[in-house]
C-alpha cells in the first residue's frame, strides 16, 4: 500500500502517477506504452523526413537551378535547372483550381441549400466520395481516353495520320480538377451545414430571395472554409504524379502544341515538379538524384506553405483539422 502523503501538501504529479500505475495490470501498461511509442514514432519519422529533405535540398538547391531551364544531358552537371517544372506545377494548379472551385462550391451549395430531389442529392454525395477514393491512375487513364477522342483534337496536338496525342496542359489540368473537388466540396458542405438556420431565416425575413441569401449571407460566411478546402485541394494537385505522367507527356521542357502564344503552351506538353522527381529518380530515364532531391525540396516547400495557409485560415475554425 502506498503511504498517504501528509494532509495539506499537494502530492506531486509523479507520486500520484506512481500510485495509480501500481493498480494497473501489466497488459494495460503495455498498451499505454505502445500508444506513447506510436506517438513518438510519428513525430520521429516526420522530423527525420523533414530534416533529411531539408539537408539534401539546401545542399543542391541554388538560385541558378531555380531560374534555368532543364536540358537533356548524360551527367547531372549538364541537365540544367528546374524552371520549367516549377512553371508547369503552377500552371496546372491554376487551371485545375479554376475548374474545381466553382464545380465543388456549386455542388455543395446545391446539396445543402436545395438538395431536391433527395435521391439525386444522395447520388451526388456518394459520387463525390467515389471520386475521393478513386485511384488517380484510373482517373488519369480515363482522361487519356477522353482527350484522345477526335472531338478534343483542339486540346493537344495531332499526329499527321490524324491520331490525337491527348497529352497537354489542358488535358492534365481538366482531369486534375477532379482530384481537388472532394476536399473543396467537403469543407464547404461542412461549413454550410454549420451555419445556423436562423441566419437564413433572418435573411428571408428581410425579403431576400434564396439566391441573394446565398450570395450575400452564406458565401461570405463560409469563405474561410472554401479557402481551406481550396488550399488542401491545391496541395493534392501539386502532389499528384500519376495524372501528370500520363496526361502531360512529362517532357523535359515546356513544348508548345501550336504557334499561338499562350494558348500554344496550354496545348503543349511539359512537366511538373512531381514528374520531374519521378523521371530523375533512379527509376526514371534521367537518373539525376541531386536534381530529384532539389525538385522534391521545392515541392515540399510548396506543400508545407499550403498547409501553413490552411492552419492560419483554420485557426478561427473549431474542431480538429486533420486531413481527410
Amino acid at each position: 500500500m502506498s503511504v498517504p502523503s501528509p494532509v495539506g501538501a499537494p502530492r506531486s504529479r509523479w507520486s500520484r502517477l506512481r500510485g495509480e500505475l501500481r493498480l494497473w495490470r501489466p497488459l494495460d501498461l503495455v498498451g499505454v506504452a505502445s500508444a506513447w511509442l506510436v506517438g513518438a514514432l510519428l513525430v520521429l519519422v516526420a522530423a527525420s523526413l523533414l530534416i533529411y529533405m531539408g539537408y539534401k535540398g539546401l545542399q543542391y538547391v541554388n538560385l541558378d537551378l531555380l531560374v534555368s531551364r532543364p536540358q537533356p544531358g548524360s551527367d547531372q552537371s549538364q541537365t540544367g535547372g528546374i524552371l520549367d517544372p516549377i512553371i508547369g506545377t503552377l500552371l496546372i494548379i491554376v487551371i485545375a483550381t479554376a475548374i474545381a472551385l466553382p464545380l465543388a462550391v456549386g455542388a455543395a451549395l446545391w446539396i445543402v441549400e436545395y438538395g431536391r430531389p433527395r435521391w439525386l442529392a444522395r447520388v451526388v454525395e456518394s459520387g463525390i466520395e467515389v471520386i475521393a477514393g478513386a485511384p488517380s491512375i484510373a482517373i488519369a487513364i480515363f482522361g487519356l481516353a477522353i482527350f484522345q477522342l477526335p472531338l478534343f483534337s483542339w486540346a493537344s496536338f495531332s499526329a499527321d495520320g490524324g491520331g490525337v496525342f491527348g497529352r497537354s496542359f489542358i488535358a492534365a489540368g481538366v482531369v486534375m480538377s477532379l482530384i481537388a473537388v472532394p476536399s473543396i466540396f467537403a469543407t464547404t458542405r461542412e461549413a454550410l451545414l454549420s451555419v445556423p438556420r436562423h441566419v437564413r431565416e433572418a435573411s428571408f425575413g428581410l425579403g431576400k430571395t434564396r439566391w441573394a441569401t446565398i450570395r450575400r449571407v452564406l458565401l461570405p460566411t463560409v469563405r474561410p472554409d472554401i479557402a481551406t478546402g481550396t488550399a488542401l485541394g491545391m496541395g493534392r494537385i501539386a502532389g499528384d504524379t500519376a495524372i501528370i505522367v500520363l496526361l502531360l507527356g512529362a517532357t523535359l521542357q515546356l513544348q508548345a502544341g501550336s504557334d499561338i502564344p499562350g494558348i500554344g503552351t496550354l496545348q503543349g506538353t511539359g512537366s511538373t515538379l512531381t514528374s520531374y522527381v519521378y523521371n530523375n529518380s533512379p527509376t526514371g530515364e534521367g537518373n539525376a538524384p541531386e536534381k530529384a532531391y532539389a525538385a522534391a525540396f521545392v515541392l515540399m516547400l510548396l506543400i508545407i506553405g499550403l498547409n501553413l495557409l490552411v492552419a492560419i485560415i483554420g485557426r478561427r475554425r473549431a474542431g480538429n483539422d486533420l486531413p481527410r
Binding site: 523526413l49 491512375i137 484510373a138 487513364i141
Partner: protein
C-alpha cells in the same frame, strides 16, 4: 442578352446552375466507368475469367503485346493478371493491417493520453505526413531505404538461394509496405480521432466511476463504441492503398512476381508490382492496341474495387451515430 446576364439570378435559375454542377460530377463518374469499360472490353473478351488466373510470366505477356504493334493477332491479348492482383492485395492488406493498429493507438494517444503541449506537436505532424506527395516518399524509398535493405538486411546466402528465379537487390515487399503504411496511416488517424473525440464524455466517466483504469475505460468503452469508424477508416484507406501507383512503381522492384510467404524472411525482400504501378509503367506503350486494352482492363478492376470500397466505407461510417442512438 448581356444585360440579362447582369441581372441577379432568379431562384429557379440559381437552382438549375448549382444543380447542374452537382450532376456534372456524377456524369463524370459514369463516363469514367463507361469509357474505361469499353476500352477494356477486348482484353476481357479474349481471356474471359482466366484474366484473373495465373499464367507463366506476366512481364513476357506485356512485352509481347508491345512487339505485336498496331495490328495484333488475337493471341496477343493473352493475359493472366494473378501476380499483379496478388501483389496489390498483399501490399494493401499488410499496410492496412499494420495501419489499423498504429492509427488506433495514435488516436488514443492524441485524444486521451497526450498532454496538450504534446498534442499540439503530434496533430500537425500527422497533417504533414498526409500532405507529403507520394513521389517524395518514393524518392526517399529508392534512395535511402532500398540501399539500406540491400546492404544491411539481405545477406549473400539469401541472394544465392533464389538467384535462379529473381534477383534480390533491395526494392520489394518490405520497403513497399513500410512506405504504404506511412502514407495511409494519417488518413486513418484522422477518421479515428474524429470518432474518438465524439464519444460522449459521460460514457467514459461512467466506466471510470465503476473503478476501472483510464486505459481500460478507453479500450472497453470508447474503442468499442467507435468500431464502425475503425472499419470505415480501414476500408477507405484500402481504397487509397489499392490505387497508389507512383510510389510503388519506384520501390516495389517492378517485377511481375508473386512473393511466396513460405520462403521465410526472403519473402519480405522479394520484388513485386501491383496493378496501379503496372499501369503507370506500361502507359508509354499505350499505342499498341493489345496493351492498351489490357491497361484499361487493369484500370477497370482498380476503379470498380475502389468504388465498392468507398461506397462501403461511407455506408459503414453512416452507421456510426454516437450520442443520438441509445
Amino acid at each position: 442578352m448581356l444585360r440579362n446576364l447582369r441581372k441577379p439570378l432568379t431562384d429557379r435559375g440559381a437552382e438549375r446552375i448549382l444543380g447542374a454542377s452537382a450532376v456534372m460530377v456524377v456524369l463524370v463518374i459514369i463516363a469514367m466507368i463507361v469509357f474505361i469499360a469499353i476500352a477494356a472490353w477486348p482484353s476481357f473478351q479474349h481471356n474471359g475469367l482466366r484474366w484473373f488466373g495465373s499464367g507463366p510470366d506476366v512481364d513476357a505477356e506485356l512485352g509481347a503485346m508491345i512487339d505485336q504493334g498496331a495490328n495484333p493477332k488475337p493471341s496477343a491479348y493473352e493475359f493472366r493478371a494473378w501476380p499483379l492482383l496478388y501483389a496489390t492485395a498483399l501490399t494493401t492488406v499488410l499496410a492496412v493491417g499494420i495501419g489499423v493498429v498504429v492509427s488506433v493507438l495514435a488516436s488514443i494517444f492524441i485524444v486521451e493520453l497526450a498532454p496538450p503541449k504534446v498534442r499540439a506537436v503530434v496533430v500537425p505532424v500527422v497533417r504533414l505526413l498526409a500532405a507529403v506527395p507520394s513521389v517524395v516518399y518514393g524518392l526517399i524509398g529508392i534512395l535511402v531505404l532500398v540501399p539500406f535493405v540491400n546492404d544491411h538486411l539481405i545477406d549473400e546466402g539469401q541472394r544465392e538461394s533464389v538467384a535462379y528465379v529473381i534477383t534480390l537487390s533491395g526494392p520489394g515487399l518490405l520497403v513497399s509496405v513500410v512506405l504504404l503504411t506511412l502514407m495511409i496511416t494519417p488518413i486513418m488517424i484522422s477518421l479515428v480521432v474524429d470518432a474518438l473525440s465524439a464519444v460522449p464524455r459521460g460514457w467514459r466517466e461512467g466506466a471510470l466511476a465503476l473503478g476501472v483504469t483510464r486505459w481500460r475505460a478507453v479500450m472497453s468503452v470508447s474503442v468499442r463504441a467507435i468500431r464502425p469508424a475503425i472499419v470505415a477508416a480501414a476500408v477507405l484507406a484500402s481504397a487509397r492503398a489499392l490505387g497508389e501507383a507512383i510510389m510503388l512503381s519506384m520501390v516495389s522492384g517492378s517485377k511481375g512476381f508473386a512473393p511466396q510467404p513460405w520462403d521465410g524472411v526472403i519473402f519480405l525482400f522479394e520484388p513485386l508490382r501491383p496493378l496501379a504501378a503496372t499501369i503507370a509503367e506500361q502507359s508509354e506503350g499505350i499505342a499498341a492496341p493489345a496493351l492498351k486494352s489490357t491497361i484499361y482492363a487493369m484500370a477497370l478492376v482498380l476503379l470498380v474495387s475502389s468504388l465498392f470500397l468507398s461506397i462501403g466505407g461511407s455506408l459503414i461510417k453512416r452507421r456510426l451515430r454516437l450520442g443520438t442512438a441509445r
